[in-house]
Amino acid sequence: MDLYSALQYVLFLAIVTALVRPLGGYLERVFSRTPTVLDRLCLPIERLIYRITAVDPNVEMTGTQYATCFVFFGLVGTLLLYAILRLQAFLPWFFPEYHTTQLSPDLASNVAISFSTTTTWQAYGGENTMSYFSQMVGLCAQNFLAGAAGLAVGVAFIRGLARQCSGTLGNFWVDLTRALLWVLLPGALIGAILLVWQGVPMNFRPYAVATSVEHSQQVIAQGPVAALEIIKNLGTNGGGFFNANGAHPYENPTPLTNFLEMLAIVLLPAALTNTLGRMIGQPRQGWLLYWVMIFLFSMGLIFVRHFEQRGNPQFGGVDLQSSSSQSGGNMEGKEVRFGIGGSALTAVVTSNTATGSTNSMHDSFTSLGGLVLLVNLLLGELVFGGLGTGLYSMVMAAAIAVFLAGLMVGRTPEYLGKKIGPAENKMIMLYALAAPFFVLSFTAVAVSSKAGLSGLTTNTGPHGLTEILFAYSSCFANNGQSFAGLSANTVFYNLTTALVMMAGRFGLAIPALAFAGMFARQKNTPSSLGTLPTDSLSFGILLTISLITVTALSYLPALALGPVLERSVFGT
C-alpha cells in the first residue's frame, strides 16, 4: 500500500478511535438529560420547544408508542417534503432555466420518502432539479430531522438493553429535540464553517456562467452547498447537492474536506457503541462491537483499495503501477484529487454507513471492488451504519450469533443479562428476514419484468444484475448510493425503490424497538463464569464470522451471477 493511503487510513481510524470515548460520554449525558457544556445555550430553547408543542418531557413511552411516534414523524416529514417538491416552481429561488427535470408525482414521492428515511437515493440530478428552497427547507431540513429521528431510535434501543423491569424506552420527542439541539445542529455548524473555509460555497446566487479557455459557455451550478453538505454526512443521509455528489469540487473540494466529511459520517455512529457500553454499565461490551466494526471496516478498505489499485487486467501491457507521476490502478470514475486511496476510503465509509455521499463512480469499480461495496450494503449497515440505526442493526444481527453461542455454553441464550426467548427470537428473525425478502424479491421482479429491464440502459449481463441488486440493496439499507448505470427515474423504479426504502427504515426499526421493549421489561441475570462472555476475543471472532456467513448464505446465488460471474468472465 502506498504511504499516502496508509497514512490516511491509519490517521482516520486513530482519530475515530480517540474520539469514541469522549463523544460516547457526551451522547450519554445528552440523552440521560444530565448536565453538558451546551446546556446554557440549549436548555432554554428546549424548554421553549416543549412549551410550544405541549410535550411533557417527563412522560416516557413504551416500545410501541415510541415506534408509533417514529413512524408518524416520518410520514409527516414525507408529506411535507412532497408538498414542497411539487410546489417548488411557486416557491423562492427557483430557476426555471436550470431546474429542468420535472418533479413528477412518482419522482417527488420517491424523493420525499428517500429523504425522510435518510436513504437519500437520488433518481434525479440536484443542480437541474432542485430549487434552493427545496434544497434548504425541504432536503436539508429532512436531513436534520430524519437523522435525528434515527439517532433517537438508536438511543431508545440502547435504553431497552440497559434498563430492567421497565416498561418504557424514553420519550421520542425529547430524544428527537435533544438529538437536534445538542448534537446535529452544533456539529453541523462547526463542520459547515470548516467546509466553507476549504472553499465549499454557501450562497443563494443563480448559477454562474463562465467562458472557458476554449471560449465556450459553461454554466457553473452553486448555491447553499455547505449547509447541506455537512448534515448529509453527519446525519448519514448522503444525498448530494449536485448530481456528482462527493465527487463535485464544490461539495468536496480538497482531500482535507473529503477526510473531514468521512469523519463526520463515522464519528457519531462509532461513538454510540461507547454510549451503549456506558449505559449498560459494561464499557467492554461497547468496545467489542466497536472493534468488530473496525475489523470489518478495515477488511473492506484493504480489499477495495487492493482491487482498485490492481486495476483492470484487460488493459494488458498498460502500466498501472502507482508512482510519483500517476496513481495507477483503476482510475476510471475516480477523481484525481482523491486518488485510489481517498476514493476507496469514501467508498467503504459510505457503503458501510447508510450514507450515499460517494466521491467516485462505483459502477466503474472493478467487479471485486464493487462486490465488497455490495456486501457492505447487504451486511445490513451495521459497520457504524446509519446514525442510531447502525447500532441496533449490529445488535439485532449479532443476536443470531449470541443465540447459538449461548446454547453452546449450555445455557438458554442471553445477551447483556437478558434472555433471548421465543418472543425475542421472533423479532430477531423478523429483522433478519426483512432484508432478503425485500432486496431479493424486488431484484427478482426487476430482472424478470420489462419495466425493470428497461432501466439497464448502459450495461446488461452480470453487471446489469449487479446494478439492479445494488439499487435495491442500497435503498433497503437506507444508504442511497447508486451503482449508477441504472436509469432509475422511471415509474417502476421510483415506486419500487420508495417501497423498499420505507421497508428498510420502518420494517427494521419496529422489530428493533419491540425487541428493546422486551429486553427493558426483563430482569437482569447476573453474569457468572457460566455465562457466555460477549466481550471476549472469541466472541468477537464468532460474531464476525457469523455476520459474514449469514449474509453470504442469503445472497450467494445472486452474488455468484452478478459480480462473481463478471469477474470470472471478464477478469475485471
Binding site: 423478523l430 425478502f437 447476573p526 463464569l529 446465488p557 455468484a560 451471477l561
Partner: protein
C-alpha cells in the same frame, strides 16, 4: 451414580422406529417441524414432476428418492428417541395392571373393588404380597415395600405412617406386614400414569428454548427459500434456467435439515437421560432451567456429608487416662443404637482396642436418651456413666455440686469451633472428657464443587447446625456459602433473595415443610422417599432419593442446550460446502468459468448435486447417536466451552461436508449412479 448405559441401536427399538418414521410422514404431524415440512413439500413436488416425465429421469428419480429419505431419516431420529421411552412405558404399564383393592367402607367393612374404581379419599387395606392399588398416604401400619417397578431398585424400603416416609406409590408391592392407606389420586392421575406419559413423551410440549430455536430455524428456512426462489429469475436473466429438481435440491441442502431433523430427538433424549438417572422431570421447561441454574441449595446431611456424625477423637480431662476415657465412652454407648453411638464403639475398638463386651453378665441398667435429660448412659456395677451435650452434662454435674473442669470446657470450645459436636462423658458425677463427633464430608465433593464453581454455579449448604459448625463444614467441603440453623422460612427467604437478583435456584427436598421452597425454586427435585406434598411441589422427582444427583441434573440440562446449539451451528456451517458443490454445478454448463468455484473437483454437475443431497440426508443418520447421547459435557467455564464447541461443531461443520461430499461423489460416479 448408577448410570445405566444402553446401546443406541437396539434392534427392537430400531424396528419400531422404522415403522413410526413412515407413520410420521402424515403432513399434519410434519407441520410441527417447519424445516422438515418444507422438505416433505419439496419431495411431493419432485415426485409429481417425476411422473410428468422429461429428460434426466435417472437423476431426477435419485434426487426424489433421497429427498424422501431425508424426511424419513429425520422422522426415524425422532422415533428412535421416543422408542426408548416407549419401551420403558411398556414395562411401567405392566405394573399398572388392574388389581383388586380392599376398600374399607365408613362402617368398617371391607369390599373388593378394582383399582381403577378407587377415588381420592378412599381408604384401602393392603396386606403382604399385595400390590398397592394407587398412590396414597399411610394411615396406619409399617411395612416393607418393593418399589422396584418404579425405581428399579430391588432392595425393599420401609414405609410407615406419619413422618416423611408415609407416601406410597401405586404399582409397588407390600412385601411384609400390612398398610392402611388413604388414596390421594384419582385414576389416570397417579404417579405411575404421569410417569408413563412422561417417558413416552405423549404429552410432550415444546419447551421455551425449543420454540425459540424453532423460530430461528423457521426464519433461516424462509431466508433460504427466498434465496432459492429468486435464484430462478436471476438464472433466467443470465440465460441459464434451472430445473425444479436442482432448485429443490439446493433448497433442501441449504435449510437447516440436520438440526431440524434432530431437534425433537434431542429434547426427548434429554428427558430420557434424566429418566436413566432415575429422575423424572415433570416438564421439559425444568430441564432447561436446570442448565441455567446459578445457585444450588444442597442439604448438608446426605448430600455433602455422610448421613451422620461420627466419633473422631476422645479428649480426656486432666488426671484421666485415655484408656479410662475410652472405656467409659464405650460403655455409655454400647446400648446406643444411633449411628453416633455406634461410631463411638467403633472408635474405641479401633483406637484403643476395646472389644465389645457382653453386659448381660453385669447388672447393667441403661439410661435411654430423653428429650428432658438430653443424656444417655448406663449404671453398671456401681458406676454411673453418662454422656450428653455440654449444657445437659454441666447441668447434671452442677446439680450434684461439681462443674466442668476448665480444661474440659476449653476442649469443648475447640471442638465446637472446628465444626465438630462435643459430647461430654461423666462418670460418678465427674467429667472424664469429651468425645469429638465430626461430620464426615463425602469423598470427592470438594472437586465437584470446584467444577461447579468453574461452571459459574454457586453452592449453598443448608444445615440446621449452628453457624460455627456450619462454617467449618462449609470450609472443609468447599461450598461457597452456607445457611446455618436453617428453618423452612430461612430457606424460602434465601431462594427469594437469589431470585430477586435474577438468579435461578435449584434445590432438593423431601419433607412436607420443604414443599413451599421446592415450589418456589426454579428447579425443585423432590426425593421419592419424601412426602406427597414435597413430590407435588417440586418439578422433578428423584426415584433414587439421592440428593447429590442435583448436580447431574444440572449437567444434563446444560448438555441438552449444548447439543441443540452445537448441531445448529454444525448444520449452518455445512451450507458453505453445499454452496460450493451446487452453485458451480448449476451454472458451469452456461458459464464454464464458474467451474473455478468447483473447488472439490466434483465429477459432473449431476453428481455434484446428488452428492450434496445424499450427504445432507446421511448426516442426519450419522448424527443420531450424538443427538441421543448429547454432546460431551465437561465442567468448564463458558469461555472455554465456547471455544471448544466452536472448533468442533463450527469449524468441523465447515470441513466435514467438503470431505463427505467429495467421497460420496467418488463413490456414486464409480458406481455409475450419476
Amino acid at each position: 451414580m448408577a448410570k445405566k448405559k444402553k446401546a443406541i441401536w437396539e434392534w427392537k427399538i430400531v424396528g419400531r422406529a422404522i415403522w413410526d418414521a413412515l407413520l410420521k410422514l402424515n403432513p399434519h404431524k410434519m407441520m410441527g417441524n417447519p424445516v422438515m415440512f418444507v422438505v416433505e413439500i419439496g419431495s411431493v413436488i419432485t415426485t409429481a414432476l417425476l411422473f410428468k416425465g422429461g429428460s434426466a429421469f435417472k437423476f431426477n428419480l435419485q434426487i426424489t428418492l433421497w429427498l424422501w429419505f431425508t424426511v424419513l431419516f429425520a422422522n426415524f431420529a425422532e422415533a428412535m428417541a421416543e422408542g426408548r421411552g416407549k419401551a420403558q412405558a411398556d414395562t411401567l404399564r405392566k405394573a399398572r395392571a388392574e388389581t383388586i383393592a380392599n376398600r374399607i367402607l365408613p362402617d368398617g367393612k371391607t369390599e373388593q373393588v378394582p383399582s381403577s374404581k378407587l377415588r381420592s379419599g378412599d381408604v384401602v387395606m393392603v396386606s403382604a404380597s399385595e400390590f398397592i392399588p394407587s398412590d396414597g398416604e399411610i394411615l396406619e401400619g409399617v411395612a416393607s415395600v418393593d418399589e422396584s417397578a418404579i425405581t428399579g431398585e430391588s432392595a425393599p424400603v420401609i414405609r410407615e405412617a406419619g413422618g416423611d416416609r408415609s407416601a406410597v406409590t401405586g404399582g409397588t408391592r407390600v412385601l411384609s406386614d400390612w398398610l392402611k392407606i388413604k388414596i390421594t389420586s384419582n385414576p389416570g392421575e397417579t404417579f405411575l400414569d404421569r410417569m408413563i406419559a412422561l417417558v413416552e413423551g405423549a404429552e410432550r410440549q415444546k419447551t421455551p428454548n425449543e420454540i425459540a430455536l424453532n423460530i430461528l430455524l423457521a426464519g433461516l428456512t424462509i431466508i433460504f427459500l427466498l434465496a432459492v426462489v429468486t435464484l430462478q429469475p436471476f438464472a433466467i436473466y443470465s440465460g441459464s434456467p434451472q430445473t425444479v429438481f436442482v432448485l429443490v435440491s439446493l433448497l433442501v441442502c441449504l435449510i437447516p435439515t440436520t438440526i431440524g431433523g434432530l431437534l425433537s430427538a434431542i429434547g426427548i433424549a434429554g428427558m430420557d437421560r434424566l429418566v436413566q438417572h432415575n429422575v423424572l422431570a415433570m416438564s421439559g421447561r425444568a430441564v432447561e432451567a436446570a442448565g441455567d441454574v446459578n445457585t444450588l441449595l444442597l442439604d448438608k446431611t446426605g448430600t455433602i456429608t455422610l448421613g451422620n456424625r461420627q466419633a473422631a477423637e476422645f479428649v480426656s480431662a486432666p488426671g484421666i487416662t485415655a484408656a479410662q476415657m475410652a472405656d467409659a465412652a464405650q460403655l455409655s454407648s454400647l446400648a446406643d443404637e444411633t449411628p453416633e453411638g455406634r461410631s463411638i464403639v467403633v472408635l474405641a475398638k479401633e483406637r484403643y482396642g476395646l472389644r465389645g463386651r457382653d453386659l448381660a453378665a453385669h447388672e447393667a441398667q441403661f439410661i435411654p436418651f430423653t428429650a428432658q435429660t438430653r443424656m444417655s448412659g448406663v449404671n453398671l456395677d456401681g458406676r454411673e456413666i453418662r454422656k450428653g451435650a455440654v449444657d445437659a452434662i454441666s447441668k447434671y454435674l452442677s446439680e450434684h455440686g461439681t462443674g466442668l473442669p476448665k480444661e474440659v470446657q476449653s476442649a469443648v470450645e475447640t471442638i465446637a469451633r472446628s465444626g465438630g459436636t462435643p459430647l461430654v462423658v461423666a462418670e460418678n458425677r465427674r467429667a472424664l472428657g469429651v468425645i469429638h463427633l465430626k461430620d464426615i464430608v463425602k469423598g470427592g465433593m470438594k472437586d465437584r464443587f470446584d467444577q461447579l464453581r468453574a461452571m459459574g454455579i454457586k453452592t449453598v449448604m443448608i444445615t440446621g447446625d449452628n453457624p460455627l459448625t456450619a462454617a467449618a463444614i462449609a470450609r472443609e467441603a468447599g461450598v461457597d456459602d452456607f445457611l446455618a440453623e436453617a428453618t423452612p422460612k430461612d430457606k424460602m427467604d434465601l431462594i427469594r433473595n437469589e431470585q430477586k437478583q435474577g438468579k435461578l435456584v435449584a434445590m432438593t427436598g423431601d419433607g412436607t415443610n420443604d414443599a413451599p421452597a421446592l415450589a418456589q425454586a426454579d428447579v425443585g427435585v423432590a426425593m421419592n422417599t419424601g412426602t406427597q406434598a414435597a413430590k407435588e411441589a417440586g418439578n422433578m422427582v428423584d426415584l433414587d432419593s439421592n440428593p447429590t444427583k442435583l448436580i447431574e441434573v444440572v449437567e444434563i440440562g446444560k448438555q441438552l442446550l449444548m447439543t441443540r446449539g452445537a448441531l445448529t451451528t454444525f448444520s449452518i456451517s455445512n451450507d458453505v460446502a453445499k454452496y460450493f458443490a451446487i452453485i458451480p454445478a448449476m451454472f458451469a454448463g452456461t458459464f464454464p468459468v464458474l467451474n473455478a468455484l468447483n473447488i472439490m473437483g466434483l465429477q459432473t454437475p449431476q453428481s455434484a448435486v446428488l452428492s450434496a443431497v445424499i450427504f445432507n440426508a446421511l448426516i442426519i443418520i450419522a448424527l443420531i447417536p450424538l443427538a441421543l447421547r448429547g454432546v460431551k459435557y465437561r465442567p468448564m467455564g463458558a469461555a472455554a466451552l465456547l471455544r471448544r464447541n466452536l472448533w468442533i461443531y463450527g469449524f468441523g461443520g465447515i470441513v466435514v461436508p467438503f470431505v463427505g461430499i467429495k467421497l460420496i461423489d467418488m463413490v456414486i460416479t464409480r458406481a455409475g449412479m450419476a
